[in-house]
Structures are given as C-alpha cells and as structure tokens.
C-alpha cells in the first residue's frame, strides 16, 4: 500500500501544479451534460424511445456522459506515461522498489479519486439542475461502475501507450478509437433503432457495456439480464486489460 500511496501522492502534486488541467478534469463532463445534453434535449423534445418507453434525452445521455468521462480521464492518465517518458522519470520508476502491477494500480487509483469528484459533480448537477431522476438506492453501484470503467479503460489505453513509442501516433490511434467506439455504442442514442449490423458491432464494444450498466444504475433503464451480461463482460475486459498492461509494462523499457 505504501507504494500505491506514493504514486497517488506524486500524481496529486503534479495535478495541483496545473489548475487549468484540474478544472477541465472536473468540469468537462459537467459541461458536456449541460451544453450538449441540454441542446439535444430541446432538439429531440419528444424524448428518446428505448425498450418500449420514452425518456427525456438528458436522462438518457447522463450515462453516456459518465461513460465518456471515464474514457477521457483514462486517456489523460495513459498519456501521462508519454510525459513521464519524455522526462526520463518513467524509466527511473521502473527501478523503484515496487511491482509493475503496483505502478499501474497506483496510477489507476489516483484517477479513480479524480473520477469520484467528477462523478459527484456531474450527478449533483444532473439531479438538482436538470432534474434527472437518479436512482439514489443504486448510487453505490453507479460509483463502483464508474471506478471499474476508469480502471478498465486506463489499463487498456496504457497497454497501447506502452507499445507505441511516439506520442503523436498514440494521439492519432486514440482519437480514431475514441471516435469509432463512441459512435458505435449506446452513448448518444439507443441501439433499438439502429441497423442490425451496427447493433451487432455495438454490442461487442465495451463502451456500450459500460454505458448500459451506468444507464441501468442511474435511471433504471435496461433489461436486468442484458445488463448483467454486459457487466460481466466489462469486468472480464478490466481483468484482461490489467493483465495485458502489466505484460506491456514489463517490456516498456
């Protein structure tokens, strides 16, 4: 635990040196929800039809925002490896008395702390400003799902960061992946009405699994069996990503 605490201490110090970074880390999901969500809510005033019922777009989009912020935070934290590599400190870390797994867990836990603050802000605004009927009873499950999301995406993206040496290549790969994954998921629209082929592709996308679980825990939309399978799939994705990230880190020097 001492090593993980040391990583959290170090990353906190670095984050505190840039208040702009800190602000955007906290505020981006909130801004997405307030600007993008509100705009679409007006545009599709009749709401979104999914699983036989109609719900306001804001309510539908909340899970997408939480899921997107997990993915975005994970990108930031994984990109930090490039900054550390440029400063040479990355290689020095690998000689410190800790396991490769501890290094990854420490980084992930720091981002989880950030995500907790982010999620609290977003849910508070969603509940009090936009009046989204958040399921309070399932709030702990929402928090856990957010944390699992951060962890899984961080490990998956770190694996890519360790394998790609150039940060411009990493940026390109991640931007394309982000764009594709977002639009073939249930983040912005329900998958009920999309063409069959797109639906199949969307259902093998971990971003869909994560968003669907969050939608179920926040506003109760979703079929319990489907959501349970998706939750299981996402946990598998987390474990596999962690294993790959460790292996990639061992070869990163």
């Amino acid at each position: 635990m001492k090593n993980i605490a040391a990583i959290i201490y170090r990353d906190s110090l670095i984050r505190l040196t840039s208040l702009t970074w800190l602000f955007f880390d906290m505020a981006v999901p909130l801004l997405y929800l307030l600007m993008f969500g509100v705009g679409f809510n007006k545009a599709v005033g009749f709401g979104v039809h999914t699983l036989g019922s109609s719900i306001p777009y804001n309510n539908f989009f909340l899970a997408g925002v939480l899921s997107m912020s997990c993915f975005g935070s994970a990108i930031n934290q994984a990109y930090g490896f490039f900054v550390d590599r440029d400063n040479g400190i990355f290689y020095e870390f690998l000689t410190y008395p800790m396991t490769r797994g501890e290094l990854l867990l420490g980084k992930m836990m720091f981002q989880c702390i950030m995500a907790l603050a982010q999620t609290t802000l977003t849910l508070t605004a969603a509940y009090f400003i936009l009046g989204i009927p958040i399921n309070i009873a399932l709030l702990p499950l929402t928090i856990i799902t957010v944390l699992i999301g951060i962890a899984a995406w961080f490990f998956a993206l770190s694996t890519i960061a360790f394998r790609i040496r150039r940060n411009d290549t990493f940026n390109t790969v991640i931007n394309v992946a982000y764009f594709v994954l977002m639009f073939i998921s249930s983040m912005f629209y329900p998958l009920d009405a999309v063409p069959e082929w797109l639906k199949y592709i969307s259902y093998v996308n971990p971003l869909t699994w994560h968003t669907d679980v969050l939608r179920f825990t926040t506003i109760g939309v979703g079929e319990i069996i489907t959501v349970s399978i998706e939750a299981f799939g996402f946990i598998m994705f987390l474990l596999i990503s962690f294993w790959y990230a460790q292996q990639a880190l061992k070869k990163a020097a």
Binding site: Y9, R10, L13, N87, Y91, Y96, P97, M98
Partner: protein, 316 residues
C-alpha cells in the same frame, strides 16, 4: 562472503525484424564485492548501459545469471529493486515539481516518511549546492542543475547498492567534485557503487576495481593498477626543454609513441616499453636543452586507448 553483484555468462540480444539480433552484451562475467566502487568502462555502444539496465531489472537478460545482493534479476526482480537505487544515463527528474517535491516523492517511493526525508535532505542539498533552487521547478533549471537534482536524490536513501550510469555527465567541476565526494563517503559507509563513465580520470580516482568492455565483451578487468599492468608496460613521460629542436621531435616519433603532444617546448608522450622510455629520456638529455622531466606509469586513459587499439588491430 556474499557478493554484491555476480554476473555469470551474461548475454543480451535485441531482436530485429528479418535480421540477426544485435548482441549488445556478449558473454560477460564478473563479480563485485560489497563496499567497493566498481567501474564499468568502455566507448559508446560498448554495452555498459545495457549491462546496467539488466542489473537494475529494466530489461531481462537473454541468457546468463545475474544476481544483485544475492537476488536473481529475473526471478526476484522486486527484491533486487529493494536493494538498489539508480541514476540512469537519461535525465530523470519531475520537471513540473519543485526540487523539494522531487526529493519528497523519491523518498516516499523508497519507503521513507516525510520527516525522515526532511532530516536527510538538508545535508544533501548543502552537499550539492541546491539551497537556492529548492523551491524551483527543474523545468526552469539548466541541464547541469537537473542532473544534479537527479544524482543528489539517490543519496537520500540507504539501499546497499547504487548504480550511476554516466552520473557526472553535463555537470560542472564543482558538482563533479561534490558527486565524487558523496560517492566516496557512501562507499566508506559500506555501500557498493557501480558506475559507468567516459571520464577515465574519474574512474581512476574513484574505482577499486574496473571492467573495460568493448562490443559487449570484456577486454580487461581488475583493479585500476591491474589493468594498467596488463602486460602493457606503458609509461608516461613529460619533458620540458629550453628550446625544442625539430629533429629531436622527429627522432622521438621514430619510437612510435602511443600518444605524443607538443605544446611550446613541452613534450608529453606515452610509450609501450620501459626501455623505450629510458631511450627517449637519454635522447632528450643528450640534446642539452632538457630543463625538467617526469616519468611515471601511464594513466588509465592511455591504457584504455591502447586496449581498444589492440582490439582493433586484433593483437592480444
């Protein structure tokens, strides 16, 4: 006695696509005893840094056995890391944190408490002359100062083995002296220091034992005196004349010195044989213009250059 480091038949190869792998370290073996200052010397690309990377668990060996404080670098890599601290060849500082925070984070990663770090930091900051930049961020400091921070922080912790890969590179004379002083003090307290350097004077001043490697192979090992004595019989001559004649210079060249420099009326040269040194001295004296002379065994640098030349020529 347990060795601080034991390397047996270490080979490290880097695979390449559709080509033979590059063999950076080629079957080297050596031991380092605890409390010694050990130098790993060689030209660029000799395999020094690769050896350090294997010893510090950054990369695994292709084959061979490498033990650090009795722990295997492959099977017990965490135990190895608990026994070492490292200054890598690349600059490695937290550029966005203050120098103080650099010390604090480094100490915490090595299991120290904040109060322990603060206690030890004072002496190190003074030793390395970092008082004035303690609250500045390395991003605003010169390359030399960044390197100073990187080197200074390793003296915060008490791991039994320290690796310094070209640690004094980019430092000015003051900081080199501070680093050399700190290294000597740490060795006196029983820590084992393994360093790589291009500066052979530094190795000669610091090291109890050295290994010279070239193209991944060991070409000499032993104490600095042992290496100097490797059958080379090299001698250094310094001759000062009231007036240096051209034909005397030509005569000296006929003895094929390893190195010969003439500045004004002063000649410095390194020769291979004891007899050659005496013949040149006799020649200089017969000129009638010799004012002062010195004769000594050659420096490690001369031996190093000669060993590399021999390797190129293919002579043993």
């Amino acid at each position: 006695m347990q060795k601080a480091i034991s390397i047996q038949n270490l080979i490290k190869e880097f695979p390449r696509k559709n080509e033979q792998p590059i063999r950076a370290v080629d079957d080297i073996s050596f031991d380092v005893l605890p409390g010694k200052i050990f130098g790993l010397l060689g030209p660029n690309g000799a395999g020094k840094s690769t050896t350090i990377k294997v010893l510090t668990t950054l990369i695994p060996p292709t084959s061979g056995t490498v033990l650090v404080n009795g722990y295997d670098v492959v099977k017990q890599s965490l135990d190895v890391r608990k026994n070492i601290c490292v200054v890598l060849q690349e600059n490695a500082v937290e550029v966005f944190l203050t120098v103080r925070h650099n010390f604090l984070t480094f100490g915490k990663f090595h299991g120290m408490t904040t109060s322990d770090i603060e206690k030890k930091m004072g002496r190190i900051v003074e030793l390395f002359g970092l008082e004035e930049v303690l609250n500045q961020k390395p991003i605003d400091l010169s390359g030399g100062l960044k390197r100073r921070v990187q080197v200074a922080k390793i003296f915060l912790v008490d791991t039994p083995i320290v690796f310094l890969d070209e640690a004094t590179t980019g430092m000015d004379t003051f900081n080199k002296r501070a680093t050399v002083k700190a290294i000597k003090e740490e060795a006196q307290h029983g820590r084992t220091i393994v360093l790589t350097t291009h500066m052979l004077e530094e190795a000669e001043e610091l090291c109890d034992e050295i290994v010279i490697i070239n193209h991944g192979k060991i070409i000499a090992k032993g104490t600095t005196d042992d290496v100097k004595k490797l059958g080379l019989q090299m001698f250094y001559l310094s001759l000062k004349f009231s007036e240096m004649e051209k034909d005397l210079e030509e005569l000296m060249h006929k003895f094929s010195p390893v190195k010969m420099d003439i500045v004004n009326n002063e000649v410095s040269l390194t020769v291979r044989e004891h007899n050659t040194a005496l013949k040149i001295l006799s020649l200089a004296q017969s000129s009638g213009a010799l004012k002062h002379f010195e004769i000594s065994t050659a420096s490690l640098e001369d031996v190093f250059v000669e060993l590399l030349d021999r390797k190129k020529r293919g002579t043993p």
